[in-house]
């Protein structure tokens, strides 16, 4: 199902999903070309969660994300040039090259601090929510984290604080099947988490909690906009678990691109290697969205092909921008310890 929003918004959602996809596929190549090193994580397969979810927010809202943050920043409208530059450790990066892939921050978009510590942001998100309530600013906080973060004690401690003090925060848990590609909606219990379904945990702390299909942009849009409305009405914290099937390229420690995504694969996956074809056929949220756009006559195949081309071009330009951006001066390392 596609969100019930005007056609131009649908096309913008589609553009952002494709942007994430092409950005990250390009990123993986940049890594393979040794343009940057170190561990990194990609958002591919979760685009239909982040993009519609963040479209429900307002300017000024607070967002927190994790090691898997690129998609969230792009969904919120971040500049792919500065994003690439940061991941490549360049001067023009969002964090001046000091943060890198794990820590992308863009305060003008509401991303103040991105933590690579699993569970690290959950307490912080209760804090921006606390401040917004204290200042009656009307801002809400969205805290985006993975299913694994619920295993950290920081999560229940924060649910308790948020619930007791009715803080304006949405906990959005992206369950991407930590344990391989097999985890879809309603899949089996995790070998490292006794709580099942995961929504039982926030519910125990009296936080209303919903489980939805994270590959269904429409379902995400409905659930998040409802939750956001409740939070803005002062009903306190809300929790949503979105379930996606892990992208086969993210099953190993270092991402690989099994096949370059092309919008046309929405209708024909015969070009996709057989081992991963099923994922692209039935679980790829971007291709699902594109197919539905077309089925619902919101876009022609040509519209989509054009969008796809534009996005690729923008990604290529962004990568080139980043590659041309200088490294910071070494002495820059000594700055910004204190404000």
């Amino acid at each position: 199902m596609i969100p019930k929003v005007p056609r131009e918004n649908l096309l913008e959602l589609c553009r952002r999903m494709l942007l994430i996809r092409h950005f990250e596929e390009r990123l993986i190549h940049l890594h393979d070309e040794e343009r940057f090193s170190g561990h990194y994580h990609v958002y591919i397969g979760q685009e239909a969660t982040g993009v519609p979810a963040l479209s429900c927010l307002e300017r000024g809202d607070f967002l927190f994300t994790t090691h898997r943050n690129h998609g969230h920043l792009l969904a919120r409208g971040a500049d792919p040039r500065r994003l690439f530059a940061e991941i490549l450790g360049r001067k023009d990066g969002y964090n001046k090259g000091k943060g890198g892939t794990f820590h992308l921050a863009a305060s003008e978009l509401g991303f103040f601090h991105t933590s690579g510590i699993v569970g690290g942001i959950i307490p912080l998100a209760t804090g921006t929510a606390y401040a917004a309530r204290a200042k009656k600013s009307g801002q809400i906080t969205v805290c985006l984290f993975g299913d694994g973060a619920l295993e950290e004690g920081a999560a229940p401690e924060s649910f308790n604080l948020a619930s007791l003090w009715k803080l304006p925060v949405l906990f959005l848990c992206e369950n991407n099947g930590k344990y391989g590609a097999g985890r879809a909606v309603g899949a089996a219990q995790s070998p490292t988490m006794a709580v099942y379904p995961l929504t039982d945990l926030p519910a125990t702390y009296k936080i209303p909690a919903k489980q939805i299909d994270g590959t269904d942009a429409g379902a995400v849009h409905v659930a998040v906009s409802e939750a956001v409305a409740k939070i803005r009405r002062g009903e306190g914290p809300q929790f949503i678990e979105t379930q996606t099937v892990r992208w086969p390229g993210s099953e190993t420690n270092w991402p690989v691109v099994p096949v370059a995504t092309d919008a046309a694969m929405a209708w024909d996956v015969s070009s996709v290697p057989e081992a991963v074809r099923e994922w692209y056929r039935s679980s790829d949220p971007v291709l699902i969205f594109i197919r539905e756009l077309w089925e619902k006559k919101q876009a022609t195949k040509e519209d989509i092909a054009e969008l796809d081309r534009d996005v690729r071009k923008a990604v290529e330009q962004a990568a080139n921008f980043a590659l041309a951006s200088p490294f910071p001066e070494p002495e820059e390392a000594l700055k910004d310890v204190f404000a």
Binding site: F112, I117, G120, L124, T126, A131, A134, E157, S158, D336
Partner: protein, 323 residues
């Protein structure tokens, strides 16, 4: 100048901060520990019921909340109670607060203050006597404040709450009753200004927190023997006013460092190492440290006394560097 007790000066700072700036919020309320005067804090609670919050026993969670709130523009002052309890919040303090400004490339300030009562306090045993300041000094990005007198606690708490950086405010459980002059008015004391608490020419004693008071008592006593001890208190170790410390060491050529951290990798170790690096040529004697030995704090009073950096141990160290 008027005289106040340490606890009075501390409460005055908190009250004035709350009155002056409605973005100041206090999370937790045992700023006076188990002192008999702790009830006085309730006046603040009553005046600002929405800005003094009693959290669950979730140090990790509410420390993170305070950091996040500071990122969003509040000035949160968190009381974690006893020194050892800040370890519960370690991931938030060390991995998040300390790195926020740097990691974001200078975008995000986290002007939070973490408060604990540190040190050997009488029957605290191994889990209620910790001095976490040295561990925290090994983590860049945190300002660290160690007041030793009523005037300092008031002035430094003011500055801590106004600082744009995460600040650790550590005072000693046994300082609360100490009396001393406190100026009228705001009284803020800038960070990074060591104070020569007593001038002397024979030997420099660099001391922090309660050990400043002990060192002053020792200096008084040794003065009667004609030994002139200079007592220097850094007051904040981050930022550290090393110039003032070095100046004193260069003058006397002899230095004893007194601090209540465990010896290894403690505050005294760092100050000693810097002096050995930058003041070596002026030293006339080995650098001596008076610290808590590397043993957990025992419960039994004579054992606890034995490991405390006490006046007799300070005197012994001073004599040894004068030899």
């Amino acid at each position: 100048m008027r005289e106040l007790a340490y606890y009075e000066a501390k409460l005055e700072a908190l009250s004035e901060l709350m009155a002056a700036d409605e973005s100041v919020h206090l999370i937790g309320g045992s700023f006076l520990g188990l002192s008999p005067h702790r009830g006085l804090f309730s006046a603040i609670e009553k005046n600002y019921p929405d800005r003094v919050i009693a959290p669950p026993i979730s140090e990790l969670g509410y420390s993170g909340l305070a950091i996040g709130a500071a990122m969003a523009g509040l000035r949160t002052v968190v009381d974690l109670g006893t020194g050892s309890f800040i370890y519960e919040a370690w991931p938030q303090v060390v991995n998040e607060a300390a790195n926020a400004f740097y990691m974001s490339g200078g975008q995000t300030r986290a002007p939070v203050v973490f408060h604990v009562l540190h040190g050997i306090r009488g029957a605290g045993a191994a889990q209620h006597s910790h001095s976490p300041q040295a561990m925290l000094w090994n983590c860049p990005g945190l300002e660290i404040v160690l007041p030793s007198s009523p005037g300092d606690v008031k002035g430094l708490l003011k500055t801590a709450a106004r600082s744009p950086n995460p600040t650790i405010f550590i005072d000693h459980a046994q300082l609360l009753e100490t009396r001393g002059p406190v100026p009228e008015g705001d009284g803020a004391i800038p960070f990074g200004r060591a104070e020569v608490k007593r001038a002397g020419k024979d030997v420099t004693v660099i001391a922090t927190s309660i050990e400043v008071q002990r060192s002053l008592a020792v200096a008084e006593q040794l003065a009667r023997e004609g030994i002139q001890v200079e007592v220097v208190d850094p007051r904040t170790v981050v930022p550290l006013d090393f110039a003032t410390l070095l100046e004193s060491v260069e003058k006397t050529g002899r230095v004893v460092i007194v601090d209540q951290c465990h010896k290894s990798c403690g505050i005294a170790a760092e100050i000693a190492a810097r002096i050995a690096e930058e003041g070596f040529d002026k030293l006339k004697a080995p650098i001596r440290r008076v610290t808590t030995p590397d043993v957990p704090i025992p419960f039994s009073p004579p054992l606890e006394e034995f490991v405390t950096p006490s006046e007799p141990r300070i005197i012994e160290a001073i004599r040894s560097v004068l030899r």
